[in-house]
């Protein structure tokens, strides 16, 4: 992917460890990316249009070399009996909910990585394996990943999955916004196959405009909210629905970027050298106590 490997990382960290203060890893990176460029792409998911055919699930697996099975088998609707989450075998899944307002039809919701504008996984990854690209995609480098699963803990949507069943070299897996396909000028696999174009691929700016237009045109059909427009500082994937987002298992999130939360926790703990200082103070205290006890013991013996 980005050409970085675990070796590079170890080399880098060794350099930093041995080096003088002030020299940082960031100096090794190329010029800063314009990750919030006006042209960054996104997908608008209109759940009022989605028919729950699950062809996106099949297309996603095909595009990512995962065992996909026969497309015809995806017509089985019994899978909707249980709520599913994306995992290492399926990077996107569709769940079905009871009908919303102004329709007798069930609401189908596709779940995958939201590709945040300010991704918490990127900021949480201690080896810098995650990257936010200018086209909106958030990808990761499997070769750099050390499997710490910080990204899983940091993600406000609980998207990154882990190959728990693999003893050797388990990998982190998630939707990569079909980074390899879009690089070649193709559409993301799921967008390409959707028979009703419930998934609209376009620049994020335009998608927000389209979403607003749809709500304005048909206020009875939609809840007046574009999920992902502002949530956690904005996401590349955005949703329109006919019922309350909370009822569709969308997490209620603030508008502050998620890294803010994880970073403030991490930075808070490590601020002003508090942990090392307190650790040394504790160790020093224990040493002093044992030394003193020893002295007392020896005094008693005498």
């Amino acid at each position: 992917m980005s050409g970085k490997s675990r070796r590079d990382f170890l080399k880098k960290s060794a350099l930093v460890g041995a080096g003088i203060a002030g020299l940082s890893t960031s100096s090794a990176k190329a010029g800063p990316k314009n990750i919030l460029s006006e042209d960054r792409m996104g997908v608008l998911v209109d759940t009022t249009v989605c028919i729950g055919c699950r062809q996106c699930e099949w297309a996603c697996k095909e595009a990512h070399d995962l065992p996909a099975g026969d497309l015809e088998s995806y017509k089985n609707r019994e899978v909707f009996d249980n709520m599913r989450r994306p995992d290492h075998t399926a990077l996107t899944v569709v769940n079905e909910y009871s009908p919303g307002k102004s329709s007798n039809l069930p609401v189908d919701v596709k779940v995958q990585c939201m590709h945040c504008d300010h991704p918490a996984c990127v900021s949480a990854c201690i080896v810098g394996a995650f990257t936010k690209h200018e086209n909106g995609a958030v990808t990761w480098d499997t070769d750099m990943c050390i499997g710490c699963r910080y990204c899983m803990a940091a993600c406000p949507f609980q998207i990154p999955a882990f190959e728990y069943d693999k003893a050797l070299n388990p990998k982190i897996m998630k939707c990569d916004f079909c980074y390899d396909r879009t690089k070649e000028g193709k559409l993301p696999a799921c967008v390409s196959i959707c028979p009703v174009e419930a998934l609209t691929y376009g620049t994020r700016t335009e998608l927000v405009k389209i979403a607003r237009e749809r709500i304005k045109k048909d206020p009875d059909r939609y809840v007046d909210h574009i999920y992902g427009e502002y949530e956690v500082g904005g996401t590349s994937w955005m949703y329109l629905t006919s019922k309350d987002f909370a009822e569709l298992d969308f997490p209620k999130l603030g508008n502050n970027p998620a890294p803010g939360v994880s970073e403030s926790i991490q930075h808070g703990i490590f601020a002003y050298f508090v942990p090392p200082v307190s650790l040394y103070a504790l160790l020093g205290g224990i040493m002093w106590m044992t030394k003193r006890r020893k002295e007392l013991d020896e005094e008693e013996k005498l």
Binding site: I51, N104, G185, L187, S192, V196, T200, E206, I210, E213
Partner: protein
């Protein structure tokens, strides 16, 4: 004469429409019509207006009767995994009569010719303008809302056949025949509907559906504007024997919208709301005039006119039957065939003051005759 006037007006209208299409006039860009309805390019100029080729000699408006529309349309433009789709247009047009009508699908045909879907909906998904769905999505979205509602699944195979299942790569010719001459079954009308509401003015609302359609002469579409197929086709539909519980979040106005167009808002609630099931409309009870077997089958508008409030009429025959004058009235329908002499008389010679409700009199000619002792003809009995 009337026919002539109507056809003249029609010709005039069509000429105006053609004229209007040829030159929509100054400032027509300010009209609330999407430019792409007529122009193919983004910036039409006077020298190159890049107009869409319309079949001008054959103007079809969207207000055609379903029966006049094409029976079958083959959709094969996007054929990929599946073979071509045979779309039974006529039946669908008939089905749409109680919902949005033709405009449900032909939504940008304000007037003028039917536009092809592909005029606005691109056949490629990767495109610059993503504000309107592409062709594949546009087709599917039209179908899926209804098909999902009444079949409860996505049923691709209802319309599609996988290419590998096609014999010699061709669609089964019998499938085409399947739709030939087929019509949507006649919609069965309910007679009485009992609603249980949460109104404090009387919980039960009895709605006599056939009174409203047959007697009061309402058209289906007066009330049924956006009807869903599941109203009839839902497999889980409950029978209507129990009162239908009305649980609604709609406002008072929305809930009463269909009724209020005729029943004035100021009317008494108890006209419809009661604590028991109400009797149907009874002309005898309301007006004191029980309708005979001829009048009972008439719709109200036949006598009372279609304007609201209804025109009051008296029970004098001649108020309505203005042509029933001397010699034109077939007296035998009353059960009494007049003899050769009496048939020549004027009505009011026997029915004084043309009042047919009271006993006829013979005294203007005969001194001691009286009806029904003596009869002016032969009793044949009512038909």
């Amino acid at each position: 004469m009337m026919k002539k006037i109507i056809s003249l007006l029609l010709v005039l209208f069509i000429t105006i429409t053609i004229q209007a299409q040829q030159s929509p006039g100054k400032d027509h860009s300010k009209l609330k019509v999407d430019c792409s309805t007529c122009h193919i390019c983004d910036v039409p100029t006077k020298s190159d207006p890049c107009l869409i080729q319309c079949p001008r000699e054959k103007i079809t408006t969207v207000y055609q009767k379903p029966e006049q529309t094409p029976e079958l349309i083959t959709i094969d433009q996007l054929s990929d995994r599946y073979g071509p789709v045979y779309f039974s247009h006529k039946i669908h047009a008939q089905m749409s009569e109680m919902s949005g009508g033709c405009e449900t699908c032909h939504h940008h045909n304000t007037s003028g010719p039917i536009l092809k879907c592909s005029t606005c909906h691109s056949s490629t998904r990767k495109r610059d303008n993503v504000s309107v769905p592409d062709l594949k999505a546009a087709y599917h979205r039209q179908c899926m809302d209804c098909h999902r509602e009444w079949s409860h699944d996505n049923g691709c195979n209802t319309c599609h056949t996988l290419k590998k299942d096609l014999k010699n790569g061709k669609q089964d010719p019998n499938l085409q025949k399947k739709y030939a001459g087929k019509n949507h079954p006649v919609v069965l009308e309910p007679t009485k509907l009992v609603y249980e509401t949460n109104s404090d003015k009387g919980k039960i609302v009895t709605f006599y559906h056939d009174d409203h359609t047959k007697k009061f002469g309402l058209k289906c579409t007066t009330c049924h504007k956006q009807e869903s197929c599941t109203k009839c086709h839902d497999v889980n539909r409950k029978d209507n024997k129990q009162p239908i519980k009305v649980i609604t979040k709609r406002t008072f106005e929305e809930q009463h919208k269909n009724c209020i167009s005729c029943h004035k808002k100021t009317e008494n609630c108890s006209k419809c709301h009661s604590n028991k099931v109400l009797e149907p409309f009874d002309h005898a009870k309301k007006t004191g005039w029980p309708l005979n077997k001829y009048h009972i089958n008439l719709s109200c508008v036949k006598c009372h006119g279609s304007a609201q409030p209804y025109k009051k009429v008296d029970n004098k025959c001649l108020s309505c039957h203005k042509s029933w004058f001397d010699g034109k009235f077939k007296h035998s329908v009353t059960g009494l065939q007049l003899d050769e002499i009496h048939i020549e008389l004027s009505c009011d010679d026997c029915h004084s003051d043309n009042n047919f409700a009271v006993k006829p009199t013979c005294s203007s000619c005969h001194d001691d005759y009286s009806y029904p002792k003596q009869k002016p003809g032969k009793v044949i009995g009512k038909k």
